[in-house]
């Protein structure tokens, strides 16, 4: 793999689920969890995907890990297309992409020791070598003493177990680690330690991260680029610094505004507040999916919206944002 080649390339990726009503099983709806997403992650880069629950950020991670099969689109991992591969054909590539889940206690087998779980992912290595000394070495790298190898998940704290989860993910030398809300189950003071560890591991190993989170502070700390998703679509994408300095999409502005609990007022509510809760668009609707919740929506928003590039690396799916009608006071919102 050359240095310039991206670790992950995703093109026009689509995945929808059918939801059946409990009371009326004949009433089946297609829910577009990931709907035409493009995404590239370079070597040593962290891309954060943010959005409310239901935005499709976890589904995107699961598609990249091939825990789910895409309906259509292309996923290229270290230069190999993986979307059509069978599980058996994907297995040799599995070592390139690993995962750290939100709740470490639920992502470890309770009957295995922590060392046992780490040895399990080591078997994904090209030669399948399993070496107990390397288990200690990995634990050491994530800041855990060798004795943790003999403990079971329930006997260690959440922060320690999340470190062990990272050690397990790193065991087969992956290029890409998918992090799904890696710190939301942890206390604030422990979150910082896990985030610093993620950054250190990235610098030492040239790792790439795909980080799904709703926590904008986490994004600001570790991500190089941000993708804001809503109902399966990318609403805005920009380098982290740029997005925090100049958020443009009303949805992004609304996410920043919702975080600033103490700074709310009626005047700001009218400009920034995302109303109500996420709900799926009716079949056949092609306009902006935020209409109904967006404080700035106009009639024209019910037409299809393209992702428009407004600055290098900064694109937004909103005609009003692209026309410069949304940015006023934006930086005030983010602080």
């Amino acid at each position: 793999m050359s240095a310039a080649q991206p670790v992950l390339e995703v093109e026009s990726l689509v995945k929808s689920f059918s939801a059946r009503s409990v009371l009326n099983p004949l009433n089946v709806r297609r829910i577009p969890a990931v709907d035409g997403v493009n995404l590239t992650i370079g070597r040593g880069e962290t891309v954060a995907v943010v959005g409310e629950s239901g935005s499709g950020k976890s589904t995107l991670g699961r598609l990249v890990l091939k825990l789910l099969r895409a309906d259509s689109g292309r996923i290229s991992l270290v230069g190999r297309e993986i979307q059509h591969l069978s599980d058996a054909a994907f297995r040799p590539l599995r070592r390139h992409v690993q995962m750290v889940f939100q709740n470490p206690l639920m992502s470890f087998d309770p009957l295995y020791t922590i060392g046992g779980s780490i040895r399990e992912t080591m078997r994904l290595r090209r030669n399948g070598e399993v070496d107990d000394r390397q288990v200690s070495q990995l634990l050491h790298e994530v800041g855990l003493a060798p004795r943790f190898a003999r403990l079971r998940p329930r006997n260690v704290s959440g922060g320690e177990l999340q470190r062990a989860a990272l050690a397990r993910a790193l065991a087969p030398y992956p290029e890409l680690v998918v992090l799904d809300e890696p710190t939301s189950a942890l206390d604030m003071s422990i979150q910082g330690q896990v985030l610093s560890l993620l950054r250190e591991m990235q610098q030492e190993r040239g790792l790439s991260y795909l980080l799904a989170t709703h926590d904008l502070r986490v994004v600001q700390m570790v991500a190089h680029r941000v993708v804001v998703m809503y109902l399966g679509q990318v609403m805005e994408t920009a380098p982290t610094r740029e997005l925090f300095a100049r958020p443009l999409h009303p949805y992004t502005l609304g996410l920043f505004y919702a975080r600033d609990l103490a700074g709310r007022s009626e005047a700001s509510d009218r400009k920034y507040r995302i109303r109500g809760a996420l709900s799926y668009p009716p079949a056949g609707y092609t306009g902006c999916r935020l209409v109904g919740r967006c404080p700035l929506a106009l009639e024209k928003c019910k037409e299809p919206q393209d992702l428009v590039t407004v600055a290098p690396g900064h694109a937004v799916r909103c005609w009003r944002a692209a026309a410069g009608e949304t940015s006023g006071g934006a930086s005030n919102v983010s602080n």
Binding site: V22, E52, S53, S157, G159, D187, M188, S189, I190, Q191, G192, Q193, H214, R217, Q220, M221, T240, R241, F244, G254, L255, A258, R259, L261, A262, R264, R273, I274, A277
Partner: protein, 327 residues
């Protein structure tokens, strides 16, 4: 058993007053102090309790309601509510108080509601048990309550079951059940944790607005200082079962005195370069703390005294109390 004299003098004025409360978990091998003598009082309408897991915030709420889990009990202190000592009250008296005078809303509304009962029935039932009104009247009040909490088409939605509600809407239902009997005190234990930020803002508005309208006092428990800042007038900072600081919310956040509170406040806001300064180390296991400041192992100002002597609350600024030997 009573704490310092100031509690006795002023207790008649205060809706809630907790003095030197000590809660212990008793296992076969050892007894572990979960609350090591905490004082807190309601001077304002909205009091926040902030702390990390293991700080004892939920234990405090459970102790007030007399709902401590099996094996965990109060060993010392007092909990006075509206001038009446709650500790030692018979269960029948507590049942009269719970739901009618003191209500609680838990973190996950979808699991705290009964999945087999319509939400209207659940709210109406609380009303009937405590006030003895007719079935029809209780239902009418339940629908009215749901409407007042911003649930559209409340008359029909009242017939729906909890799984048909989103997290934010289910939390409104739980708030409705808590407020239906017009309690004097609403305890909200992490009411918005796990909700999306956009929904969190809505639910906090509903809580703030409904306690204002009904005149109930609010005790809001959260690990998130941002939530506390937005919804409370005063705040109690708990750490490993000890009160570290008490004061007006704005005063405590703008000029915290305890080194632990200072660390919490720093972690709230990113620095200019985007990094966040977190508190190093971890919360100690409760069985490892004896007569000492529980924050000693992580504190930048630690001295020998902190490791051998528990700090007491002192009023260093008017209305701002701090437990620390070194400020």
């Amino acid at each position: 058993m009573l704490a310092e004299p100031r509690h006795v003098e002023e207790s008649a004025l205060r809706l809630l007053e907790i003095g030197q409360l000590e809660v212990v978990a008793q296992t076969q091998r050892e007894s572990v102090k979960l609350l090591r003598g905490i004082d807190l009082w309601l001077d304002t309408a909205r009091l926040g309790v902030v702390g990390e897991s293991g700080s004892g915030k939920s234990m405090t709420a459970a102790a007030i309601l007399g709902l401590l889990p099996t094996g965990i009990r109060v060993t010392r202190g007092s909990i006075r509510f509206a001038g009446r000592e709650l500790l030692g009250l018979p269960e029948s008296d507590l049942q009269e108080i719970r739901g009618k005078q003191i209500s609680i809303v838990y973190q996950n509304a979808v699991t705290s509601l009964n999945p087999l009962m319509s939400v209207g029935d659940q709210i109406a039932r609380v009303c009937r048990v405590h006030t003895g009104v007719s079935r029809a009247e209780a239902w009418r009040r339940a629908v009215e309550m749901l409407a007042s909490l911003g649930i559209a088409d409340a008359a029909n939605r009242a017939r729906d079951y909890p799984h048909q509600f989103s997290g934010g809407m289910a939390q409104r239902v739980a708030i409705g059940a808590a407020l239906i009997c017009g309690p004097k005190l609403l305890i909200a234990d992490e009411p918005t944790t796990g909700l999306d930020a956009t929904i969190q803002a809505q639910v906090l508005d509903v809580i703030t607005e409904s306690v204002r309208r009904t005149g109930a006092a609010l005790l809001l428990i959260s690990h998130d200082l941002g939530v506390i800042q937005a919804t409370t007038d005063s705040v109690v900072v708990l750490y490993a079962g000890l009160v570290m600081e008490i004061g007006g919310t704005d005063a405590v956040i703008s000029s915290p005195l305890n080194p632990y509170t200072q660390g919490l406040v720093r972690a709230l806001t990113p620095k200019d370069d985007g990094t966040i300064q977190f508190i190093p180390g971890r919360v100690p296991e409760p069985q490892t703390i004896s007569e000492q400041c529980p924050f000693a192992s992580r504190c930048p100002l630690v001295t020998q005294r902190c490791r051998v002597e528990k700090p007491l609350l002192r009023e260093l600024r008017p209305g701002q109390w701090v437990a620390c030997h070194n400020v």
